[in-house]
Amino acid sequence: MSEFILQILNGLDKGSAYALIALGLTLIFGTLGVVNFAHGALFMIGAFCSVTLSRILNASYVTIDPTQKDFLGNPLKVKSSYMESWFGPEVGGAITDWSVPLAILFSIPIMIVVGIAMERGLIKHFYKRPHADQILVTFGLAIILQELVRGFYGANPIQTPAPEALSSVAQLGGSLGLEIVYPAWRMVYFFFSLAVIGGVFAFLRFTTFGMVVRAGMADRETVGLMGINIDRRFTVMFAIAAVVAGWAGVMYAPINAPNYHMGMDFLVLSFVVVVVGGMGSLPGAVAAGFLLGILESFASWERFKIFDGLDQIIIYLVAIIILLTRPRGLMGKKGVMED
């Protein structure tokens, strides 16, 4: 029983990342009609915002300690952190320890700038181009962004730990009489993604801005005819989608060490998620994200492994079955992306 619950938690956790990325993809697709293959790269940039901030906070000056030797026998260069020497070991240490949560704030301006630059500089010119062109140009952009990150940070994964207080395991299910332990940070990730998803939905639902955007998603031309500058709003939506993808990456950094190709690793999967959810449907994207996350978890669990290697193909198998039984995915709209 407890194992069953653990696998559900694993699924929800994986699903959180899928859902957040898919949500952004669907926002961009629904509002701008653009298939953005650089979305995985935005996720990756988010994760590297965590890395960068933790590097900045860990920035240190070098003093030479003649009593110790380095591997070549020269005097050892000792690094001491600015943070700790400015604020003392306790406050300074706490600031560096909380670098990942702080990166949520740090990433906002970066993601907004990247998002707007991408939309205004590139994607704007591709609204009227065939989807294949959109896919390819954003794919080219994704390669470039990925190579830039590799150039600056190398190809090795970079550990970006969660705050000490949140990197232990949480005891859950005490009241149910079950012994369930789960990493605290993974719980944080799950609730964080719920909050972000809830926030995006509330924003679209309850603000005038959101109303206009929703109207624009439904019928762009009419909204334009009403004298509303829909383009400006769509740029803002792109920036929001970039921030959502970035946040997904920021908070993901402690779960698995970020590397430069993590965006590509998630890209194909998140597209499958979006399509299974139904192109253009936000609830569909979120539901499909969690659904595929949970299915993937259970397929990797031996008890549910009906045949060898099921865990390798489950996502694609399910995607094929869903697309063949429900022509437009779980909640897709008719006529979207079918030409």
Binding site: W185, E302, Q312
Partner: protein, 447 residues
């Protein structure tokens, strides 16, 4: 083509269909040379084929650094590094056989196809007489097959699968790196003395040939020490999150987790295992332990604090104190400002050994060089007295058992040497069942 006679057997000899068409002599123009890419000018070209993109890119870049250094030393520049400590004194620092050493590089992308394409371009276009490097067993085996067909020597780089010098061994291929069997043989005694001989191990294994052979080796070696293998779960190479493979471990009754993973897989699975608090768990009254049978410095750096106290094995480490190691670390460190990794060491040593074999054979002909390397015993290249065994072209030397350091003082100091397992303990018969099924064949010089 006549060497075929012995291999194919008489049975099939009658079954020739229309394959009898004579080859027009014009198409054998290359037979003017005695062997593939015989160097005729004043220089000789070596091909360094390493992953420069993809998940093992850092490993590949370190290999490149080491190979460039080796070329410098061969050409008599720099401080000579391990050439001064090497027991064979055939090399004079004037290139190889008096020819200046040049090199070309290529990107394997850690894909068999791409690796073969770049090796081919080095052989066909640049006239490389030897291919060195690589960072994965699948690629090593694929390129080894290519070099066999093309008639050049292949030195394998980082490849740890038993198959490279087992089922898939080739006469033109040599491996300096150790293998899964040796890891098991070196690790098992250390593990049983550190954690006791009554342990239940749970294996997570990367689902490809290297993972399978390593798991088989480690399970066999630890079971011989009295351990029980509770379970072995295969994980897809493409996995990035291992949580759903780790959670079943929690209640499996196992008290040791063996991660047969490498590269990004290993970094993530180890990180996830630590996240789930496995290191702090007590099962069957014993502390839960994690073992990573194959370590590398770059991976350990990627896994950061998570490697603390985790035991694994390595081919070589810069912290060894023999003269060869010291000379190499000094000259590498002074040039690049960092200590070399064990894959860098492998590629450096292989380049020097190849050059030395050419000198001793007096030719670049792969058959002559292969003969000079077969059964070659030497010392002074780190790892103590070393043998290149003639039967399977596997190198035998001491193996290191490493442990993740608590409180490392800098980014290169993540692992410490726990034990140097003597060569005799990791040796095995060439026909050992884990290595059975292949044949070395005859050397091919491409003539």
């Amino acid at each position: 083509m006549t060497k075929n006679l012995t291999r194919r057997g008489v049975l099939k000899s009658g079954a020739v269909a229309g394959a009898g068409l004579a080859v027009p002599t014009i198409f054998t123009a290359s037979s003017a040379a005695a062997y593939t890419n015989e160097p005729t000018g004043s220089s000789v070209t070596l091909g360094f084929n390493v992953p420069q993109t993809g998940p093992y890119a850092e490993e590949g870049l370190d290999e490149l650094r080491a190979q460039e250094l080796a070329v410098e030393h061969l050409n008599g520049m720099g401080d000579g590094g391990m050439m001064n400590t090497f027991s064979s004194k055939a090399l004079k620092g004037n290139g190889i056989l008096g020819k200046k050493v040049e090199f070309v590089t290529g990107d394997t992308q850690t894909k068999s196809d791409a690796a073969r394409a770049s090796a081919k371009s080095m052989i066909e276009k640049d006239g490389a007489v030897m291919i060195n490097g690589g960072s994965s067993s699948g690629v090593a085996i694929a390129v080894q097959g290519l070099c066999q067909d093309a008639g050049v020597i292949f030195m394998a780089g980082l490849t740890h699968s038993n198959d490279t010098t087992g089922k898939d061994k080739k006469a033109n291929g040599f491996r300096h790196f150790f293998n899964g069997y040796m890891s098991g043989a070196a690790l098992a005694p250390v593990l049983s003395s550190a954690y006791g001989s009554d342990r239940n191990a749970y294996h997570l294994t990367a689902d490809y040939t290297w993972g399978w052979t390593q798991q088989e080796s480690i399970a066999a070696a630890t079971e011989a020490m009295g351990w029980n293998t509770v379970n072995n779960v295969l994980t897809p190479l493409a996995s990035t999150d291992f949580s759903s493979y780790i959670t079943p471990v929690l209640n499996s009754g196992a008290d040791v987790l063996v991660l047969n993973h490498y590269g990004g897989n290993m970094v993530n699975s180890l990180t996830n295992a630590i996240q789930f608090g496995l290191r702090d768990k007590v099962v069957n009254g014993k502390n839960f332990e994690i073992v990573v049978p194959l370590y590398s410095e770059l991976m350990a750096a990627g896994a950061g604090k998570n490697v603390e106290g985790v035991i694994g094995s390595m081919n070589w480490n810069w912290q060894l104190t023999d003269e060869g190691t010291k000379a190499f670390v000094k000259s590498f460190g002074e040039k690049y400002g960092r200590p070399p990794s064990n894959s860098a060491h492998t590629c450096y040593v292989q380049t020097i050994l190849y050059a030395d074999a050419c000198e001793r054979a007096g030719t670049f002909n792969p058959c002559g060089v292969g003969e000079a390397l077969e059964g070659f015993e030497f010392d002074g290249m780190g790892n103590g007295p070393t043998l290149y065994r003639a039967e399977d072209h596997q190198c035998f030397k001491d193996v290191l058992v490493m442990k993740g350091k608590e409180n490392p003082s800098n980014e290169y100091d993540t692992l410490q040497i726990l034990e140097v397992t003597p060569r005799a303990q990791v040796e095995y018969a060439p026909d050992h069942p884990m290595f059975a099924g292949g044949e070395l064949g005859a050397c091919n010089s491409g003539a």
